[in-house]
Amino acid sequence: MLEVRNVSAAYGTALVLKNINIRVGSNEIVSLIGANGAGKTTTLRVISGMLKPIGGEVMLEGRNIAGMEPFQIASLGLVHVPEGRGLFPEMTVMENLEMGAYLRKDKDGIRRDLEFVYSLFPVLKEREKQLAGTLSGGEQQMLAIAKGLMGAPKLLLLDEPSLGLSPVMVDRIFDAISQINRERGVPILIAEQNAYMALSASHRAYVIENGSTVMEGIGKELLGNDHVRRAYLGI
């Protein structure tokens, strides 16, 4: 589905990604774990075209998308739910969901997906007419994921879905992520500081340190890896 090969990227003259290699198969949940500033968010930004890489390839379904404009990449079915959620705060919940489906023409499909996201997050239906900015943090994260799903993603990128949420809410969000993957077969790439949650929920994971992917493995196996346990799980 997605293959990131030897990608490097810089902000101005500061090289922030040096050697990123990631693969996401169809139907997989893959997570990127690493410390603050390791390059997780930047990696997602490069994949979705928000930042142009200075080297390497980003292959989406066999096509190199590195250097394309973000809205063109979105039209290929890659949906990025950015850190800070990327909502339109002064627009209603419903309008946010409609904007999520911006590129779609299939009215029936949109209606079906709307039903699906409402069954996933019933609270959004209750808040349909409320401004997105007035939702609680957890509800905003739900809306962000729901808005992403409305774009009928072939691949979903989630940046820090647990950020700023209570442990109960984090559980609910990760349950929903698993459910989306199971029921919709959507491959998902998650960048997450909460290594424990990310590794438990993913099929595979990559560890990013100083802008490079340094380790790769099955999610559950990395949970038992000594280096990961010491550096990211605090055990």
Partner: protein, 317 residues
């Protein structure tokens, strides 16, 4: 296609029809009131057009009067030099204004906040300087008097009484069109750009295209109202493109309540009337506008419109 249901279009049209009927007897109040009402209507189109840019797309412009002036000069010069009908001239003025909107919109795509404000401000100044210095065409700072009135068939549109009804009709159509645009899919897309450009990009919005489109729509209507002004007052001068004019228009949009479209109409009415009341103290006008903007932003960020909504909610309990 525009994503407006016929239902919504009809509901908004009813408000416009009601306002239209209520405003029909106004010229009975005499020429002075009629003149004020016409000026309010012309400013309403301009302030509402600016709202598409500032309120909906979040692109601050300090040069909107330039497009108003471009519309006025285009229509005037076409009708006086080439004998073009002022009706066609006004339309051409709108189109030339939006062509300049395109020319300003493209290079300012990457500019945000104060940088965009400065570049639009500069554009306004450049237009004013050109109107002053291209004196073989524009008569420079003297301005152009004796502009032909709008041809009205059996109606003499030099009279305020008849012009009022033409202005009322055109303003209703223009503002209703802007209103429909603001509520359409295009309006939603422009709002999404205002809210978060990156998020708009990530759902697949061609942000640069829509930013330029906002400029084109907004400046087209500013140009139209400039043309109407020229054939109503029948005298124009480079002062139309002055920074102070742009600030007046922006004040109407902001004080009325930007991003609501109805608000700028209220702002246009309020500031035009205020300007009349303050005539003896005209030099203090901008001081008062400034203070008003600060007060409105502090207590009612959604302007007079927001205040009215707040009151009506209070009354209903």
């Amino acid at each position: 296609m525009l994503g407006i249901t016929g239902d919504l279009a009809l509901r908004i049209a009813k408000y416009y029809a009601l306002a239209f009927i209520l405003l029909l007897p106004l010229p009975l109040a005499g020429d002075y009131v009629t003149h004020l009402a016409i000026m309010i209507m012309l400013y309403s189109i301009t302030a509402a057009s600016l709202d598409i840019l500032v309120g909906y797309t979040g692109r601050l412009s300090l040069g909107h009067a330039a497009f108003y002036a471009i519309g006025a000069y285009t229509s005037t010069l076409l009708s006086m030099n080439l004998g073009v009908s002022p009706w066609v001239g006004i339309l051409a003025g709108g189109m030339l204004a939006s062509l300049f909107g395109l020319v300003l919109g493209i290079p300012s795509l990457k500019l945000r906040g104060p940088y965009l404000a400065i570049s639009t401000l500069g554009f306004g100044v450049i237009v004013q300087l050109m109107l002053i210095n291209l004196d073989w065409l524009t008569r420079g700072p003297l301005g152009i008097p004796g502009i032909p009135p709008l041809p009205g068939g059996p109606l003499d549109l030099r009279s305020k009484f008849s012009f009022y009804y033409v202005a009322l009709m055109l303003t209703s159509v223009a503002v209703y069109t802007l209103h429909m645009i603001s509520r359409s899919r295009i309006g939603k897309v422009l709002m999404s750009i205002r809210e978060d450009e990156d998020a708009a990009l990530s759902v697949g919005v061609n942000v640069p295209l829509f930013k330029v489109l906002a400029f084109i729509i907004s400046t087209f209507f500013a140009g139209l109202s400039g043309g109407l002004y020229a054939h109503y007052i029948r005298y124009i001068s480079p002062a139309m493109s002055a920074l102070s004019e742009s600030i007046s228009i922006l004040s109407m949009t902001i004080i009325g309540g930007f991003g609501t479209l109805t608000g700028p109409l209220m702002g246009a009415a309020m500031l035009t009337i205020l300007q009349e009341l303050l005539r003896p103290y005209l030099e203090y006008r901008y001081l008062i506008y400034g203070a008003l903007i600060v007060i409105v932003m502090k207590f009612f960020p959604s302007g007079i419109y927001g205040f009215v909504q707040f009151l009506s909610r209070k009354v209903r309990g």
